[in-house]
């Protein structure tokens, strides 16, 4: 079968780093780490595995960081990936074959895929984290019957969704309810990430929160806050002015597009917080917003974030960016809580405890969400260069969510 693979091979890395200086296109030329090629058909790792044909697969920001080799050498997650691997972890598809012990699925079922390769998928007894339903905190991403890897798209032995076929453990699949389209269901992974981040520190009634970044993760955070937590004042921050109509339609009251000092001043004016101006460095607000959901997680967003929240505020860090120095003094001075948030698992929403993806599919079936305009680009797999470039240079492409149609 044909698939998009990622290879950590020295010549490919060297080529992309050097040619990449001239043009970022080099990373997606086919001579870089990512290429479109024929690979072996995936095989089941047990009798409870299912063959799925991907219909749509979303390009995640982390895929793009990987393709353009944007990770620092000291990133510890290199310990939980194995290469070469087939990329892609935001997948919906149709069941084409089931193993003898598969109980929940039949041929032709439409499914959304949870990509996490935690204990049950690896055929292990659940660790303490999996027991609680915190699958991304699993202790066994390195153990069990197949190669290390935390989720689809970074494991050598379980291929991702940028491929013609996948083979997955039954527990990774969630049936798509009737009336819910593949187009909506394919956003299950980023929605679930956003849901988990919000549930790490849900807004209290009447609070003012900032959603930092208006990529698909940020947009979903905004929308789910406005749908599930009515009465919350949602402010959005993103440099892209063109996002304003969409951001407002999804439920934010205002989009801030400036940077640095101006951004601090504008937020201060909006929430009527007194501004402190040190002689050097950024100004900061004495009080400020109640919570931040930082879907960028970059040093610059954290540095401004700790300056525009009130004392004892919470910042949920859900974005994945490269660490750099930032001036973090307000973190202690204002006694801020910085909460990391990683993916999703079993979540409690209202009275109901279910997998985040089930919550999402239920909300879709109940017509509670409206995502039109979020998916902007679709490509066949062989056009992977265009697809990754569209995400890499969103300003030029106008991309929000880019999908492959394998």
């Amino acid at each position: 079968m044909k698939a998009l693979t990622f290879r950590i091979e020295l010549p490919r890395l060297v080529f992309s780093k050097i040619a990449g200086i001239l043009s970022p296109r080099a990373y997606v030329s086919g001579f870089g780490a990512v290429s479109y090629e024929s690979v072996e058909e995936p095989k089941p790792h047990g009798k409870d595995w299912v063959m799925v044909k991907p219909t749509l697969a979303g390009v995640c920001g982390s895929d793009v960081m990987q393709v353009f080799l944007e990770a620092a050498a000291d990133n510890p997650l290199s310990a939980v990936v194995s290469a070469p691997h087939v990329m892609g972890h935001e997948v919906v598809g149709t069941v084409v074959d089931v193993g003898a012990e598969v109980k929940r699925f039949r041929k032709d079922d439409r499914v959304a895929v949870s990509p996490w390769l935690s204990c049950s998928v690896r055929g292990l007894a659940p660790c303490a984290s999996c027991e609680r339903g915190d699958y991304p905190l699993c202790e066994h991403f390195f153990d069990g019957t197949f190669e290390r890897g935390m989720h689809l798209g970074n494991c050598r032995d379980v291929g991702g969704g940028f491929a013609e076929t996948m083979c997955l453990h039954e527990s990774m699949l969630f049936p798509i309810p009737e009336g819910v389209s593949f187009d909506d269901a394919v956003l299950a992974d980023p929605f679930a990430v956003a849901l988990h981040a919000v549930l790490r520190a849900p807004p209290e009634k009447g609070e003012t929160v900032i959603v930092w970044g208006c990529g698909s993760l940020g947009l979903m955070t905004i929308h789910l806050l406005s749908v599930l937590f009515p009465g919350t004042t949602i402010l959005a921050v993103d440099h892209k002015r063109r996002m304003q109509p969409l951001v407002e339609r999804l439920g934010a009251t205002k989009l801030f597009t400036s940077r640095g000092k101006e951004l601090v001043a504008e937020i201060g004016e909006h929430v009527k917080a007194p501004m402190r101006k040190p002689f050097f460095g950024l100004p900061w607000l004495q009080t400020g917003v109640d919570k931040i959901y930082d879907t960028v997680g970059a040093p610059s967003t954290l540095e401004i974030g700790v300056r525009v929240v009130r004392p004892r505020a919470t910042i949920v860090m859900v974005g994945v960016a490269q660490p750099r120095r930032f001036e973090w003094t307000p973190l202690y001075f204002k006694e801020i809580s910085l909460l990391g948030s990683n993916a999703y698992g079993m979540e409690t929403l209202g009275e109901k405890r279910a997998h985040a993806m089930e919550h999402y599919l239920d909300l879709l079936a109940d017509k509670k969400l409206d995502w039109s305009d979020v998916v902007t680009h679709r490509y066949p797999l062989e056009k992977f260069g265009d697809a990754f470039m569209a995400v890499y240079d969103k300003r030029r492409s106008g991309a929000i969510k880019v999908l492959f149609q394998p």
Binding site: P76, L331, L339
Partner: protein, 422 residues
């Protein structure tokens, strides 16, 4: 009066940078920003209405805080935002035990001759300002009004032009800053009220549960006081202390640590993993992490290296308390999101709900526990200097290992005894 003054003058800063390049004591050269100077006696603040609420005190013991050492040796970055809240020149020193000399007509809490621990914070009440929401709820260090009148900007005595700190013969204090020292509690014990309250406040923000293993990162005064509070007030908790230097083991154990681990980086991760029977995930080019890990880390250093290691030693969904005031630098923080760590900042102290004693100021809590014999951290005081020995004092506090120093204090009574001697 005499006081150790910090002057924000660019020629003096530049001179100290140059002289400091050659030797630590160069930062304290006469043409640098830090000098012992003869100053006019401070006069109590405020308008006719609240002037009566101030007292004049004479410090008896003043501790040298790590933040003073950072300031004196110019370790702060230019973009530190707290510069917006302080004023220069100022007399340094904010860990003060003192004797009351004079009291204003409206003062009720203390009388001349009383021994007091002085809380240095300058929030609404001290400034004669209607209380902000934070002061109202007792969170004095989160006050909205550190820049409001009637005197200059300042977070606490020791960084405010108009309220001199305790590296001096004489201070003024609003009566709300004064906490009487109970009988049987020494001035040295009382001078540790400030750092102990800082440690206790941080612990209270994420108190350990019975049976937990917690790490205290750093065995400077703040770390040792954190250990002391944990060991004495949370008996079912296993306290593991970490620092770089073997000489600190004695102090850590003395304060109540169950284990002392010496090291940093990968070596430290391995040692902690062994101590807690956790697996280690070793990674090419990167710091390893433990699978599993400890429940909580109290990081009393708060620099990039300690945070980078702390987020790898704490278990998934664990908590890292950031109490130390390090200069920000890059660190590899991926485990914060990947392991869903909570990093909580902690700033000073205020009026708090304590498990023992109920609602009171951090100083009252500490002093009452000292009086009851439950706490006595004074063995960490290793060096005592008269005020005119300020250069040696600061160098000892800076080059701790060379001097075997932990807590350095100014001892004014020794000086007075000497001066009045035969």
């Amino acid at each position: 009066m005499r006081g150790v003054v910090f002057e924000m003058s660019f020629p003096r800063l530049a001179a100290a940078r140059v002289a400091g390049f050659f030797s630590t004591s160069g930062f304290l050269a006469p043409f640098g920003p830090v000098r012992l100077r003869e100053l006019p006696d401070p006069t109590p603040h405020g308008d006719a209405k609240n002037r009566g609420e101030w007292v004049v005190v004479e410090p008896t013991v003043t501790g040298v805080c790590g933040s003073d050492v950072k300031e004196i040796f110019l370790d702060a970055d230019l973009d530190n935002p707290l510069r917006a809240l302080i004023s220069f020149p100022h007399v340094l020193g904010h860990e003060v035990a003192a004797r009351v000399k004079e009291v204003g007509p409206a003062v009720r809490r203390v009388r001349p001759g009383d021994r007091v621990a002085v809380s240095p914070w300058l929030p609404c009440e001290v400034r004669g300002h209607p209380k902000c929401g934070y002061c109202e709820s007792g969170d004095l260090s989160l006050c909205d009004n550190f820049t409001a009148g009637p005197f200059a900007d300042g977070i606490h005595a020791g960084n405010c032009r108009d309220v001199p700190g305790g590296y001096s013969d004489r201070m003024i204090a609003h009566e709300s800053m004064c906490f009487p020292i109970p009988e049987g509690v020494t001035d040295e014990q009382a001078a540790l009220s400030d750092p102990f309250s800082v440690a206790m406040h941080a612990i209270r923000k994420a108190p350990p549960k019975p049976g937990e293993t917690v790490l205290v990162y750093g065995c400077g005064p703040l770390g040792l006081l954190t250990i002391h509070a944990l060991a004495r007030l949370f008996p079912d908790v296993r306290v593991v202390a970490i620092d770089l230097h073997p000489y600190l083991e004695k102090f850590a154990k003395d304060m109540g640590a169950h284990e002392y681990v010496c090291g940093s980086g990968a070596e430290l991760v391995e040692k902690i993993a062994e101590l807690t029977s956790a697996r280690v995930r070793r990674i090419a080019y990167a710091l390893p992490w433990v699978i599993g890990g400890v429940d909580r880390v109290y990081d009393t250093v708060g620099i990039a290296e300690t945070l980078e290691t702390a987020v790898r030693l704490v278990k998934p969904l664990g908590t890292v308390l950031l109490v130390g005031v390090g200069t920000p630098r890059r660190y590899e923080w991926t485990p914060i999101f990947f392991r869903e760590v909570t990093v909580i900042g902690s700033n000073a102290y205020g009026i708090e709900d304590f498990a023992e004693g109920g609602r009171m100021h951090g100083f009252e809590h500490y002093l009452s526990l000292c009086a009851a014999g439950r706490l006595d951290p004074t063995r960490m005081i290793t060096h005592r200097y008269p005020l005119d020995g300020y250069r040696e004092a600061f160098v000892a506090a800076r080059d701790k290992r060379r001097h075997g120093a932990v807590k350095v204090v100014f001892d004014f009574d020794a000086e007075r005894r000497k001066n009045s001697g035969p």
